[in-house]
């Protein structure tokens, strides 16, 4: 992004900055006490600059930004202190009507979930035109024309038609583009982007971020990027502000924060991160515990209960934000910044190797999947249902997982990876194909036999909030499994189980809602490992968790695998996590495996253009690396699996396809590529007529 800061030219009046926030406090009056969502935060952003506000959920990062737009309802919110200066004009003191005139004109915002952020009952074009007409004296027709132009500008094909469609007719990425078009309709000076890509696939995320950068460069917009994703920040921010429990704990330039963090929390976050670009994954060093309840923020430094450097001094006064070096704009609020600096320099331990007598390659397969197919019929009709088509969610997948190892299945949402997992477990009845678990054919089992066999194969779900029955206590949840699968529950069973997954035994009689996300996921894991299964499907087990918690759970999973010799099928879309945990990786696209290889081979030497695009789209939390990386930005969205493209299914979005001669292109169109051995290795297979290596991981 534009790195030139122009604040020198700005600001008559009191502020030198385009937008400045001073000592902002936002409190909420709740039944549980005063929630200090934002507790004295100051920051600024200048034209053409990108400021990233980073923090885990509940850190107050969104609230502070939304206050600028008057989007925090009061009551229940109160604003005990704070000023917001836009080009020197104080926003919060203005009459509501004046504030409103700035909203959407000088400051615009894009939100996390473009599906819910667009009004479902109005046409996309209308919604953009409305934004134009609210702030510009322009006719109805002219505004509509402008809306079409804006849609074209954000790269929406066929904008004239698209303008007349409704949000639900747009894909996720297109919706976010439409949101951006709307936000930029009046050429705002400041754009607040609140988790703009969290709900999107990584390839789409790359598209959107590329678009934002382009537009920012054209218009010299200041961007405030609110996110929890440190990779994204490393790739796109100029300056970074880290928030914890409603306060700023550290701020500085991109390089300063990543290369030389001075606050224990920042350091902790970085140590929790899995990195896709490290050949030999390091051991994760999670931050212990949970983020605090904002109604009961600990005394002193809010982070001290989770901080390994914490001393008595941390429990006293709230540390002030101080410069890391005299005069430096890199500031932190940590009493132990020196120790943090030392800790950060120290090389990290490697991740534990799955200890094994025999190498993974030579072990017998625990799971053997052959030509698995799962089609969902599309039915219509009032009384008599007719099948009018089928969604080919999984279309011939074969894989094999050696005992005690982990195979990861990656791909964008809708590629069929979760369906594979469910079909393997026969949670969805497979359409055809066979599944053998430890030599036993699962697909042919009768229901009663299958039910018993389930003790050997288990699953951990993605959403720890949704996968536990809210009306049952943890004890009931765990005991149910013993009841159903015929195990003895003694007095010590449940406490032991809880201890194994790192929960206190006295949590047994609590209900799921009394736990945090990470704790719930531990309960989910406890349920899965009870009765000693041999094979566990991990269906995106950490993707709903905050970074610091992710690392805790990943470590736990690794420990359990070592202790019990578990075999994992790990479903994920986050390639950094995959690189960390897998032995072998399979990449899926539209129901089929396009590439399968041992972990390092896949990341270091990807052969399929899709794998390459996927890896290149993942930002790496290291600005130095990010600066030199080239990103392959795929066009368009995943096609409808009910009507997949002929030949190679990926060809419609394939970057390589575009470079091919017409004859070669025809081959892609007509001939589905088989999964063939790549680079002569028996362990690396790829399904592409024109497979070839490309460096995408590092610059």
């Amino acid at each position: 992004m534009a790195r030139t800061s122009r604040h020198a030219a700005a600001a008559p009046g009191e502020s030198r900055h385009l937008l400045e926030v001073r000592d902002l406090k936002v409190h909420f009056q709740t039944g549980g006490g005063v929630v200090k969502a934002v507790d004295g935060v100051s920051w600024h952003v200048d034209a053409g600059e990108t400021l990233a506000i980073v923090g885990e959920s509940g850190s107050g990062k969104s609230v502070s930004a939304m206050t600028l737009l008057g989007l925090v309802p009061s009551p229940p919110a109160t604003f005990p202190s704070g000023r917001v200066l836009l080009e020197g004009r104080s926003l919060l003191d203005m009459p509501e009507q004046q504030q409103r005139r700035l909203r959407g004109k000088d400051i615009a915002m894009i939100f996390q979930d473009p599906l819910t952020a667009l009004n479902p009952v109005f046409r996309v074009g209308e919604q953009i035109a409305e934004m134009v007409r609210t702030h510009q004296d322009i006719g109805k027709m002219a505004a509509k024309t402008r809306a079409v132009e804006l849609l074209a500008e954000v790269g929406i094909p066929d904008p004239r038609l698209r303008a007349t469609q409704y949000p639900h007719e747009f894909s996720g990425g297109m919706r976010q583009r439409a949101m951006i078009a709307m936000a930029l309709a009046n050429d705002p000076k400041v754009l607040i982007a609140d988790e703009p890509t969290t709900a999107l696939d990584v390839t789409v995320q790359a598209q959107i971020m590329a678009l934002l950068e382009k537009l920012q460069a054209e218009r010299d917009t200041a961007i405030v990027l609110i996110t929890h994703d440190l990779g994204l920040v490393a790739a796109h921010a100029d300056r970074i502000m880290v928030m914890y429990a409603g306060r700023v704990v550290e701020e500085g330039t991109n390089d300063e924060i990543f290369a030389a963090p001075r606050h224990a929390y920042t350091h902790g976050l970085l140590s929790s991160l899995t990195r896709m670009d490290h050949v030999r994954p390091e051991k994760l060093e999670p931050i212990p515990g949970q983020p605090p309840n904002l109604a009961r923020v600990p005394q002193g430094c809010a982070f001290h209960p989770r901080c390994r450097f914490a001393s008595d001094a941390c429990r006293g006064e709230v540390p002030l934000l101080v410069p890391a070096a005299p005069g430096s704009a890199h500031r932190h609020a940590c009493l132990h910044s020196d120790e943090v600096a030392i800790a950060h320099e120290r090389p990290r331990e490697p991740a534990p190797v799955v200890a094994a007598a025999t190498p993974v390659e030579e072990r017998a397969p625990m799971l053997e999947v052959r030509e698995l197919v799962k089609h969902f019929p599309i039915k219509v009709g009032t009384f008599v249902k007719r099948t009018v088509g089928e969604v080919r969610a999984v279309d011939g997948v074969s894989l094999s997982i050696p005992e005690g190892s982990t195979l990861s299945l990656v791909g964008e949402s809708g590629c069929g990876k979760s369906t594979v997992a469910r079909a393997i477990l026969r949670l969805h009845e497979p359409t055809s194909g066979s599944v053998e678990l430890a030599g036993r054919d699962i697909t042919g089992m009768s229901q009663p036999v299958l039910r018993k066999a389930r003790s050997d194969m288990q699953i951990v779900f993605q959403d720890p909030y949704a996968s536990l029955n809210p009306r049952m206590t943890v004890r009931q949840i765990l005991t149910e499994k013993y009841e159903l699968l015929g195990g003895q529950v003694t007095d010590s069973t449940i406490p032991d189980l809880l201890e194994t997954v790192g929960l206190a035994a006295d949590y047994a009689d609590r209900y799921p809602h009394e736990f945090s996300g990470g704790q719930r996921q531990r309960v989910g894991i406890a349920r899965a490992i009870a009765l000693n299964p041999r094979f566990v499907v991990l269906d995106e087990p950490v993707s709903a968790l905050d970074v610091s918690i992710q690392a805790q759970v990943l470590n736990l999973l690794e420990e359990l695998q070592q202790e019990f010799g578990l075999t994992y099928l790990f479903i994920a879309h986050d390639l950094s996590v995959v690189r960390h945990i897998s032995d072998r990786v399979a990449v899926m696209y539209l129901g089929g495996i396009v590439e399968i290889a041992d972990r390092d081979a896949l990341f270091e030497r990807p052969h399929h253009p899709y794998t390459q695009a996927l890896i290149s789209a993942v930002p790496i939390p290291d600005p130095a690396v990010e600066r030199v990386r080239e990103r392959i930005v795929l066009t368009g969205d995943v096609p409808n699996p009910a009507n997949p493209p002929s030949g190679c299914r990926f060809r419609t979005r394939c970057w390589k396809h575009l470079e091919l001669s017409d004859d070669d292109k025809r081959r892609c169109i007509e001939e589905p590529p088989p999964l063939l051995s790549a680079s002569g290795s028996g362990r690396h297979h790829v399904a592409c007529h024109f497979a070839g290596e490309r460096e995408v991981l590092r610059g």
Partner: protein, 310 residues
């Protein structure tokens, strides 16, 4: 869209057929509904004509077909008391009921939506509590209490014509319809106000409302355009059901106000055990309900584009 309408139409026809079959079973198969009984014995020729029309000597399936055929032609036989074709009675009553239903719905949507919006927007305020309590109370007061109290205290006053009044006193239909419509509207308005409040509160929490505010729209526009259209969706469903029920005749209200609609016709028929009229009105109510709810479903699809592509 066309397919959606077609499918909805097929559904409606199926439901009507099934419902009329139930009515048919209850009235015909379980005995001769035209059998002479009681004081005003049905004249044998009338009974005979009815029997012949409905083919009571024929096997049950044939009877049902005849019955449906007659219904389709709007032929419901001849009533017991006046020996008039029931279809004529219906024809006279239906326009009045339709007027009443439409005016009532307009009144209750106006009152209900405005009250609901105020309650939702001024949440926890005095107005919110007032609307909530009045709406809840209104639901709890039986319509006949409201009706008789209005007849006793309001009719004959201001624009409201006397109840009863000499039939020669000409009253424009909109005056005649006013009080009964208002009576009907009170309870529905209360339901709509509660529904509107809840749905508006839900919508106001939606992300797109935040977006609308972030656009710099005035609060009026945020509520009036963005929140309104979305929160009206459940209200439309309710209004559809309510309209469907009202089209079938408001038996108590129409009777209390001596309003010559389908409900009043039915209430007289019930008092007199006038079977042909009862059957006809019930069939009419069912058909009206099903058709209205079908139309509302289709309208609903226009209001909510998400379900338009069926």
């Amino acid at each position: 869209m066309a397919r959606f309408i077609a499918r909805r139409l097929v559904q409606a026809v199926l439901v009507i057929l099934a419902a009329t079959f139930l009515i048919f079973l209850a009235t015909f198969a379980l005995g001769d509904p035209f059998a002479s009984s009681g004081e005003k014995a049905v004249p044998p020729d009338i009974a005979e004509a009815n029997r012949e029309k409905f083919g009571l000597d024929k096997p049950l399936p044939v009877q049902y077909l005849l019955y449906v055929g007659n219904m389709l032609r709007g032929d419901f036989g001849i009533d017991f008391d006046q020996h008039r074709p029931v279809s004529q009675l219906l024809e006279a009553a239906v326009p009045n009921t339709v007027r009443l239903a439409i005016v009532a719905i307009i009144i209750d949507v106006l009152i209900g939506v405005i009250a609901g919006v105020i309650a939702a927007v001024k949440r926890y305020s005095f107005w919110d509590v007032l609307v909530t309590v009045i709406a809840t109370l209104a639901i709890g007061i039986p319509v006949f209490v409201i009706g008789v109290v209005l007849v006793a205290n309001v009719s004959g006053w201001g624009p409201f014509p006397s109840v009863p009044r000499s039939f020669t006193v000409q009253v424009p239909w909109y005056q005649e319809v006013l009080l009964p419509a208002f009576t009907l509207a009170i309870i529905d308005a209360a339901f709509i106000a509660r529904l509107m409040r809840g749905s508006m509160l839900e919508v106001l929490r939606a992300d797109y409302i935040r977006t609308a505010r972030a656009k710099g729209l005035s609060e009026r526009r945020v509520i009036g355009k963005h929140a309104m259209r979305n929160s009206m969706i459940p209200v439309v469903t309710y209004v559809g059901v309510s309209l469907g029920v009202l089209f079938g005749g408001a038996i108590i209200t129409e009777t209390i106000f001596q309003y010559n609609g389908v409900g009043y016709l039915l209430s007289r028929a019930i008092v007199n055990s006038n079977a042909p009229i009862i059957i006809a009105v019930v069939v009419f109510s069912v058909v009206a309900y099903v058709l209205i709810s079908m139309i509302v479903d289709i309208l609903y699809a226009f209001l909510d584009p998400r379900i338009r592509l069926g």
